[in-house]
Subunit: 506 residues, 4 copies
Amino acid sequence: MNHSSNDTQTVKLKGEDVAKHNSNESCWVIVHGRAYDVTEFLPEHPGGPKIILKYAGKDATEEYSPIHPPDTLDKYLDKSKHLGEVDMATVEVEEKEEDPYEIERLERVKRMPILEQCYNLMDFEAVARRVMKKTAWAYYSSGADDEITMRDNHSAFHRIFFRPRILHDVENIDLSTTMLGTKVSIPFYVTATALGKLGNPEGEVVLTRGARKHNVIQMIPTLASCSFDEIVDAKEGDQVQWLQLYVNKDRAITKRIIEHAEKRGCKGLFITVDAPQLGRREKDMRSKFSDVGSNVQNTGGDNVDRSQGAARAISSFIDPSLSWKDIPWFLSVTKMPIILKGVQRVEDVIRAVQAGCHGVVLSNHGGRQLDTARSGIEILAEVMPELRRLGLQDQIEIYIDGGVRRATDIIKAVCLGAKGVGIGRPFLYAMSAYGLPGVDRAMQLLKDEMEMNMRLIGCNSVDQLGPEFLDTRTISMHATGVPPDTLALTVYDPLAGPAEQMSSKL
Amino acid sequence: MNHSSNDTQTVKLKGEDVAKHNSNESCWVIVHGRAYDVTEFLPEHPGGPKIILKYAGKDATEEYSPIHPPDTLDKYLDKSKHLGEVDMATVEVEEKEEDPYEIERLERVKRMPILEQCYNLMDFEAVARRVMKKTAWAYYSSGADDEITMRDNHSAFHRIFFRPRILHDVENIDLSTTMLGTKVSIPFYVTATALGKLGNPEGEVVLTRGARKHNVIQMIPTLASCSFDEIVDAKEGDQVQWLQLYVNKDRAITKRIIEHAEKRGCKGLFITVDAPQLGRREKDMRSKFSDVGSNVQNTGGDNVDRSQGAARAISSFIDPSLSWKDIPWFLSVTKMPIILKGVQRVEDVIRAVQAGCHGVVLSNHGGRQLDTARSGIEILAEVMPELRRLGLQDQIEIYIDGGVRRATDIIKAVCLGAKGVGIGRPFLYAMSAYGLPGVDRAMQLLKDEMEMNMRLIGCNSVDQLGPEFLDTRTISMHATGVPPDTLALTVYDPLAGPAEQMSSKL
Amino acid sequence: MNHSSNDTQTVKLKGEDVAKHNSNESCWVIVHGRAYDVTEFLPEHPGGPKIILKYAGKDATEEYSPIHPPDTLDKYLDKSKHLGEVDMATVEVEEKEEDPYEIERLERVKRMPILEQCYNLMDFEAVARRVMKKTAWAYYSSGADDEITMRDNHSAFHRIFFRPRILHDVENIDLSTTMLGTKVSIPFYVTATALGKLGNPEGEVVLTRGARKHNVIQMIPTLASCSFDEIVDAKEGDQVQWLQLYVNKDRAITKRIIEHAEKRGCKGLFITVDAPQLGRREKDMRSKFSDVGSNVQNTGGDNVDRSQGAARAISSFIDPSLSWKDIPWFLSVTKMPIILKGVQRVEDVIRAVQAGCHGVVLSNHGGRQLDTARSGIEILAEVMPELRRLGLQDQIEIYIDGGVRRATDIIKAVCLGAKGVGIGRPFLYAMSAYGLPGVDRAMQLLKDEMEMNMRLIGCNSVDQLGPEFLDTRTISMHATGVPPDTLALTVYDPLAGPAEQMSSKL
Amino acid sequence: MNHSSNDTQTVKLKGEDVAKHNSNESCWVIVHGRAYDVTEFLPEHPGGPKIILKYAGKDATEEYSPIHPPDTLDKYLDKSKHLGEVDMATVEVEEKEEDPYEIERLERVKRMPILEQCYNLMDFEAVARRVMKKTAWAYYSSGADDEITMRDNHSAFHRIFFRPRILHDVENIDLSTTMLGTKVSIPFYVTATALGKLGNPEGEVVLTRGARKHNVIQMIPTLASCSFDEIVDAKEGDQVQWLQLYVNKDRAITKRIIEHAEKRGCKGLFITVDAPQLGRREKDMRSKFSDVGSNVQNTGGDNVDRSQGAARAISSFIDPSLSWKDIPWFLSVTKMPIILKGVQRVEDVIRAVQAGCHGVVLSNHGGRQLDTARSGIEILAEVMPELRRLGLQDQIEIYIDGGVRRATDIIKAVCLGAKGVGIGRPFLYAMSAYGLPGVDRAMQLLKDEMEMNMRLIGCNSVDQLGPEFLDTRTISMHATGVPPDTLALTVYDPLAGPAEQMSSKL
């Protein structure tokens, strides 16, 4: 009964002992079968102490795992606080309250459509929405503020129409292209998305395998659920990966990450420049709201609730002071090409060229950062004519991401001048619903769609695509394409005509 | 039993005695525990005699209180008609008919979300709509005619998209700015809105306290539920207030109000110029309709119902002859800066400069006056380029109000050239639902949003904001952004295809 | 039992005798208590023989009355076929089948809102829709084809926004103006609409009385339910009426009508030029469909159903060959000013000036004729700048009609250059729901709205209105304002994602 | 019991014998009362072997018939595999599982509206949707990807408004025109659509008879359910037909088809150029999904489901290498005028002129091929001004198809410069719901509509139509007219405000 933290090295801890440390005065938690004393860490936890205290004295693995890479505790918690293994048989399995949503979800999982019923990328999203855990779905699917940008990312493609050519021999179609020197089979890459284990217990390595199978590049996220090395270890043969980088306030850490990535073979460094602070995503915040907040006193602004969803919890290290004057340093510490991810206006593309960057991704971070920002495809329509006017179009590679769901979207981007497009959420949804086969089928569907649509616009290969195949006159007519203002609609009482008399009055 | 009006000075009146005076021949009413003889006042009542007669011989406090400042009876009813205190224990408490809406409302109040579940300003509106009394909600939420302008005020912001810059050091963000010489913490002020006690029994002083806490300016409304002095008394330290003024037909009264306000420390005089007559707000009128109208004879136009909601009842004193030639007089009677509230086209902004005004508020009165008027943000997009062309942009401070719900809305207004924005209804809703903590949280949310969004567009301070951060090409494309014509939709029968045969025919 | 048609002059006919003539071999019908032998008339009936045969041997008054002016039988049926009075006590009252719609309608009539609950013109439409007979509602409310023009007529006004001026003394507002030399109290007139008795048993004279009360002009329709003289007889004092004219193939008839109208004091001749053939209104046609069509053989185009609603039945006399070369003749036969009603492009306005016409009504016939025609207000925005460019703006009076529901609509039209607007359906709906008091209130509401809105845009009188008070940049952006394609939507299956497995498969 | 395939020539096969050959080792099927050994053919079947194996040993006639012309087995299966007649009385009639959709459909068929209740072309679609078999409806009604182009085809017409002229004598209306030298009664033709027997057991000959009756041209589809000769045999008198051609990889086959068509009297050769590969139509694919796919292993892309609906199954012969250099060959092998069907930009129209083609059809294949391609009417608005600028407008006949549902649509196309329009689906729906009388009525309705609408725009004959009768300023404003993105909407969770507390918490 009296285990000191020393003898936990040799004897397994009992669940009942851990259970006693269930307050902010002494707070132990179990993760992956080992106990940790996090009492002193509580105030430093980026996600706030409350979320930990919920698991004080208990097994926190299920909630901990997707949002912390496996090496987190080693990195951030002093060894003296690692209390050693727990005899999990002695840990009381908590009777979970019956969550009616969860019961229905498990029913929906049983009735899941089989994979072959998915005919397009939206279908994976439809299935994932039905079978994912509520909080995971909320994290993946949410966007900033009113989610206008998030939705406009896709609908912007529908403001571009095709001008296909006919009677061009399209028997043979070659979808391949080159990205930063790497030959790929189709002009998309798997862009970085955080917390892959929320959707699939294996996490980002599933995407690695899918990318390998279809010969496309995977961009490894800083905020992966898997560790960087796990993801690199999962690659095969000459498979190419890129690194997405949130720049740490401590540049030594950043330098270590970059050098390690280069050593492990990464072929591109994508520095995120649209997220000096990670966005407020209210759907995500609402889904996190639970008993955590229920005893907060109404004392106003000083006690603003800090449980702002996964995004805020995991991103406090990001350096908001990152600026153009840091670019030479990045160029000095790596030979990897440097690409700025999140550029949103032509002035900054030109500046990126001048700064010696090798590429930019025109992106609004999947609509998760600044709402009513413009979509990547729309920015592209602004950028390319100006680059061509200045003769800069070949000095930098332009990518876009956001809202790509159809091969026609890819073709439109390439026609306008992009080297390729990043696709994120759709593969997460495919992975969450169906694992690797889902990712595989999603990629194959894009290839099938693209081969067909290349034929239908009359082009054999990616280099034949150009702006003459598009009618883009209305791409910037936001007024019309603006997605509905859902919140405003829910609070608005429509006008109504005169009410009928109550019959009792007659 | 035989109380003359004289001995009511010393002996409390009995409820049964008051109850006898229940007709238009002798009409007494009880307000805040005192009885008043309003028989002679009936025909003069701005809201019409019927609404008073409903309470003849009864306690009218609940309905009276929110729409009459406390000094009303002293000001407008001769002392001889003040009958003195009533022994309220003797007043029969009226059995109210069970109002099913009210019963449901009280249920909804019990299930109110806690404050921390409100993540944006729309959320307060959503809660207020569920928990406010029906007539109060109708008064606050209604707009003119088809409420197209009221809704367009917010949606106009969605016709402006951002062009954020990247790689600008945004570690430190300063939201502060200066309005008419006063330093404030963020570029919004609490604009004047009428009848605060409809939403909260304390009325406008709640907003005074919230504004103090967040160091923003409150504009005191002429049509407040609290008296002007109560609102000024509620301020603390060097807190700054402005006065919103409806100009009285009797300029002596207006002069007295202005001089008093200046003496009490008001730092700005906002003269409302968009309301020579207060608007018809049909939702409000419908909510007021009750048994008042039910025995009206169908005799046509001569007997038009005068019970047109709170707005008309309280505004009959406003002078519709106010014109540009009155401006010199205002400049002569006060040293406060003079700002015209409700300017709607560039010609009038230029004229305001020429007339020596210190500012204008581009506003359509929250969509409560002229329907299909343009939103403040849209007028701003017309005004600023022309002012700059004429070199007048620094000779006047430009404000806008209407539809501001997000920090991005504030940022867009400031980018276009506004010194700041007025916010009205959202704070009323926050106050109605949650009192001061609601107002506090609403303001804090705007600060949190604005700090983040300043980072995301790449600006450290308000003075860095400019039109280059916006894409405003479609701001004036009304055709597309026009909110749906609700009434027209409710009366339109959609076309339908051929009907099925009745089975009996077979 | 053996009544010859001769002795019916003196002895009343018995119902049982009439009842025997119930086939196309001998077809008698009773109308207003008198019997008629229409056997030989059957093939000539513009509405087809079937609809008469339905009443063969029976009392047809109820269906006959609204769609035939009282002098119809005298004019079109030879005296020898007038069989004389019927003893109505002997006519078997037909047990009507219980029509569930009719039962519900009568319930709705009991619960009708009282008149004072109507706050705008849409409200009358909302009530009328609930309390009118189904076929009457269908006739009034229907438009051509997909009813896009009918709906766009109103929504076009919402593509125009106001630019009100401020600080203009608006204490006194004068709404009066002059139309074709007649002083009127407000710039609208009651435009011609057919078959007033469908909505109210008194018919068009109700509108005459309403117009008198409010000092506006009534345009008398050719296709009135009341006779022309009844409508003229209903006017009082110096009340002014105009005549709307469908030109008959037989010009002698037309001449007689014009001369008679002029003699009876009509002050304007409005020649309808947008209806060489009366429109197909499918809602109306569907509502007429009943057992009439149920035994039609499927033999294809040769036997196309002729029961095409009221419009077609009553309009076969209209001359489709009417052309510009007829205008001099009209000018020669009357001193009344001649106005072309239904002009739809600027070229034809100019031609009307050249032809010596005194005015035009820019109109698409309430959306009842050519679908996807432009609204009057939009045509006006095309017409006036061109007229001014040519210096013709004062040589002709321009009116518009269609979609006017708000005083703001009237103001917009006058700002753009119209002398006034015609209003039709709203008064029909007011009359159908509430009779004369409804018409009275509808007109008073427009006056109340207009007085207020004149104040709000800063104008004292109609002559101050001009295009500078409007922002019309998007009036012609049809693409955006096009009302939804209801029929197409009802036949379209929205795409859907993958279906769930049937649970039986698991 | 031991029938060799030889003696089946004289003795009828028994059902039980056929039933034994029910696997991929020996697979017999019955079609139209005759048995066939398709064991060796299984891997070659364009629709995949699975769909055949479903009927192994059984009667496949019902599913086989609509999607294979009657001469298919003769052409593609060696005579030795024709096993001869089956005694159908001995074939076990399979008890079909009760399909609830089918039961409801049969109920709907009983309650079908009678033909006279159809007042426009949409009505036939509404009825067909209710009474057609699910898979047939899916095949006819589906389009490519998100069906944006399919829906835009019709809504594009609503982005064009009329500018009718008045006072033009329109007593006599002549709808006739000339197409490729043939006089027709109205400017539309019946365009080619595949698989007519899905909707009506008689197939395309029904359309032949309808076209005859109304003196319009029928274009015979390559992928008809009837054989080419059956369709030609069905014509009467001097009736004119055209041939729609999918070009076979084997040009000898194509040449044979062309020569045969010319010999049989076809007067135009319409070469489809927008379908080098037939489109993915997901609704169709989903409707085909059944137990066919249910045991597919999740092994990813290598095993992509091949059951992609009817379109893919029947089109594998089409030559994707067809190009401009083939045109001279076509000109050399036939004297029929050559028209390219599916041209989508002005450059290719000009090239068609240069190549010596006699016409083009501006078409996107009914929205079934490339999604977000532009509608024919919109391409026409691009093409004609450029042709006129180059003086080429008379060197080629321009047709459009897609989305035509109203006579106003036809008039708009002709005003813009088209010789006529092709109409496909509406006649299929009319035929599916009502057979020949349906087709007849549909055509008659178009004539009735067109006669009326010619009057209403003030034109007597087709040659008077011109662009001055249209307002086309917004035809290309896609942003606004883009049909809703149905799939995206189904997967999007609208934002919601704060949730109510569970009452249990109180």
